[in-house]
Symmetry: C2
Subunit: 204 residues, 2 copies
């Protein structure tokens, strides 16, 4: 059967991606040599060049592992926390995002994106993050408008501003945590800040 060889090859491909994640994280993308990555996976650069076109391609494929569209976050909200409030839906989705970002894989790859890579070749991490950011802001925009229509938002606060403020607060929390993961408890402090913010913007 040809299938056996295919799954073996796929396994080494995954091993190379795991190794790249580890080495990128430890030494930074620029100082990470393909030799070190291959050896970490118990292979040689020959295997790496067989599966990938080079460091840029490897990096690109690594990022495929961390995507999280808003709808997915909403779907993952625990069933016992279902709500009809738009504002609460957004809030719970944010908490869900924090939950995800705390997981090792998300944490490592985002840490690489934030602090362990510069742009190189045709790869522009900043551009990628900007795109992800815009996408996130866009996906909650109409929810905030609905919340405003429902009268859930504090009077005088327009939904556009609220949406922007939330995303920038989230971004700040996320970056702050990555800056000093030891001193900053993402789950607890993050939850608290998010919840308190929603208290502030919710109409009495």
């Amino acid at each position: 059967m040809n299938e056996n060889r295919r799954v073996d090859a796929e396994a080494t491909r995954e091993a190379l991606l795991d190794a790249a994640e580890a080495v990128f994280y430890e030494r930074g993308v620029a100082r990470a040599s393909l030799e070190a990555i291959a050896r970490r996976a118990g292979l040689t650069r020959g295997a790496l060049y067989w599966h990938f076109d080079g460091k840029a391609d490897l990096f690109r494929q690594l990022l495929e592992r961390v995507r999280m569209p808003y709808e997915e976050l909403v779907r993952e909200i625990p069933a016992d926390q279902r709500t009809t409030s738009r504002l609460d839906e957004i809030r719970l989705a944010c908490l869900q995002a924090l939950e995800r970002l705390g997981q090792p894989r998300y944490r490592r790859i985002h840490s690489i994106l934030l602090h362990r890579c510069e742009f190189f070749d045709d790869i522009n991490p900043t551009g990628l993050m900007a795109q992800m950011s815009r996408q996130g802001i866009e996906s909650t925009k109409e929810r905030f408008e609905q919340a405003a229509d429902n009268g859930e938002l504090r009077s005088g606060l327009d939904p556009e501003t609220a949406n922007l403020m939330l995303h920038n607060l989230l971004r700040g929390i996320f970056h702050g945590w990555h800056l000093d993961p030891g001193a900053f408890a993402l789950r607890e402090t993050g939850r608290k800040l998010i919840n308190e913010w929603f208290v502030l913007v919710r109409a009495d």
Copy 2:
């Protein structure tokens, strides 16, 4: 006079720092060669190695150019905006910080710190930023406590949480702007978000 030679040497040192700032910004720290930096300054690597110990030393000395302690920000608040409100002092200091961060030199160097360098040798940009962040949070902590004592803070919101939320919001705004400077007007959008946040936390 020996003085002439000293100021000449100091001028080339500055030129090398300017060149480093430009090349780091354009190509990223890792891909920036000392050769390119020296030539950008109209010199050779010989001059660079005369004034600096290498890339790490060069980078370190570049960062000396951007420091902004809280007291300095308060001192720079326009005289016509003097206030006795603690909360307003913090707010105006934040706006002042935004003003500074928008200036080319601050912008370029922070952009290098955020998106154009990985750690290398004994340099740890993340650690440096974490330190600056902690320092900033610490410097406004007691001001928020004073504001709370004055009854300026919305009831139910403790000063510690407010302080953390503000710094994370600021961080998010700052990062968001650096992520996409074109789509995000630091001065206007930043001012607006900060001002709106202070409206939210201020007691009625």
